[in-house]
Symmetry: C2
């Protein structure tokens, strides 16, 4: 069921994103990847540990972030869907100007995609969801029908083996990931699409920026994965020095494993926000 919140649901996704950037003076997206083996001791013996841990991270980092990105797999691995739902509802109620992205990388035929869209936008009430492009437009179209929600398509990922498929050279000389970028720019008729483009390949981030004009990009890979923040920000920003969500998860939420984890997460988030703002 769609939950009510103070969000204006008549607002298009890009407009909402833009409002979040300007209001928060931040391009930082905090990734929420709870992992029992890395939570501070205090959560090991608690009921709903993921929800409680993430809520503290959210409260501590919200002043420095414009978006939160819960990673679906972390909750699904341990059957914590209820905690995920409670967390998203909490963010939307307490921080209605922040964007919530469900990082789930869905990708299936249209009839199935309609159910995944229902899950992301109705069950969890996420503002946006991440998707795989492998099945083509009809696997993305059911999400686009939710015209106030964001559709974030994976384009160029930050992992070690991503070259294999994503940099495949096509017969016309173009790399595959640029074909994906150009297609998604075409699908973006309602100001609701974004692309995932990792910070670990800042040059290619620049090529993607060129291919999609001012369309916003979700950029992971600056924290634990070691991407070059300055290059990513410079190459990824759009013509009005916006258009970016720089995502960091583990480097923020596991910055400290003591009871001071939330304060430390806030310190790391504040510094990252400031670094991004300086480079942009």
């Amino acid at each position: 069921m769609a939950q009510s919140s103070s969000t204006d649901f008549s607002m298009k996704f890009h407009a909402k994103l833009c409002q979040a950037w300007r209001q928060q003076q931040s391009f930082l997206c905090v990734g929420l990847d709870p992992d029992m083996s890395r939570l501070p001791d205090v959560f090991q013996r608690q009921d709903k540990p993921y929800w409680k841990f993430c809520r503290e991270v959210v409260d501590a980092t919200a002043p420095y972030a414009c978006a939160f990105k819960p990673q679906f797999a972390h909750f699904a691995a341990v059957g914590a869907e209820d905690e995920l739902a409670e967390l998203i509802q909490y963010i939307k109620t307490s921080y209605p100007d922040h964007i919530v992205i469900l990082d789930a990388k869905r990708g299936d035929v249209g009839s199935t995609a309609a159910f995944y869209a229902q899950e992301a936008y109705q069950r969890y009430d996420a503002d946006a969801v991440t998707l795989s492009p492998y099945l083509g437009f009809d696997s993305v179209e059911p999400y686009l029908r939710y015209d106030d929600r964001g559709v974030i398509v994976v384009c160029r990922t930050s992992n070690a083996h991503s070259d294999w498929l994503q940099k495949s050279q096509l017969a016309d000389g173009q790399a595959l990931f640029l074909q994906v970028a150009e297609a998604v720019a075409q699908w973006n008729t309602n100001d609701q699409c974004m692309l995932v483009a990792g910070a670990t390949y800042p040059e290619e981030l620049g090529q993607i920026r060129k291919a999609v004009a001012d369309m916003p990009l979700l950029v992971p890979g600056v924290g634990a994965q070691g991407g070059d923040l300055q290059a990513a920000v410079c190459n990824g920003a759009n013509s009005v020095k916006e258009g970016l969500l720089i995502s960091s998860s583990r480097a923020i939420i596991y910055a400290d494993s003591s009871a001071q984890f939330a304060q430390k997460a806030a310190v790391v988030a504040e510094k990252l926000r400031d670094d991004i703002n300086r480079y942009i």
Copy 2:
């Protein structure tokens, strides 16, 4: 937590699949895609309707099938993970020689993939899970570590817009989906990989078969999607006239919307099994 069952978990996935084919004399995989708007009336007012509906379909079709494939999105859209878990546990306990495939098309970086693998193989105890190839080998490797489980990579899908990426022509003249097929054949060092190859493109199914030798294929698209069964079976079978899981979901489970749905599902499943066996 991994559930116990009478399954021999020291057996490799391909061996288990082979045993299922031979014992059941069937290559039919029944897809379980429950949808509230299509369930017979009797389930509309019940608790746990997806679990109860699917259980009846499973009991009715098990004699004619060698595998069941619950589609994750259908359960996730309505928060029915507990029903999905109960269903898989029921199949594994009641029909231990049948294969259970969690159709979830996961695809994420390795650190996240480890959590999805935990979800599929430990939380749900599925024998196999479907994956997207877009992120490359390190996004698949965490699944391969479960050496008695199956890893089914999407290669050539049956949907209308699948050509766009999957048939992209590479600089060396090869279609992208064949590059995926050849790579997965390389990853298959432990007799645990399969590919998804739709029946709607039987010629390409033949190309894939040639590229992967005897590796088994999961073939959707023969029912509601209108693929040519005879051509798919002839082109998809391997050198020992096996190597196929022909999947049908809606044409079986929604064959009849009255209280007779299970009997009708059995009739359709039996006919499809017989047709496959005749063509092979």
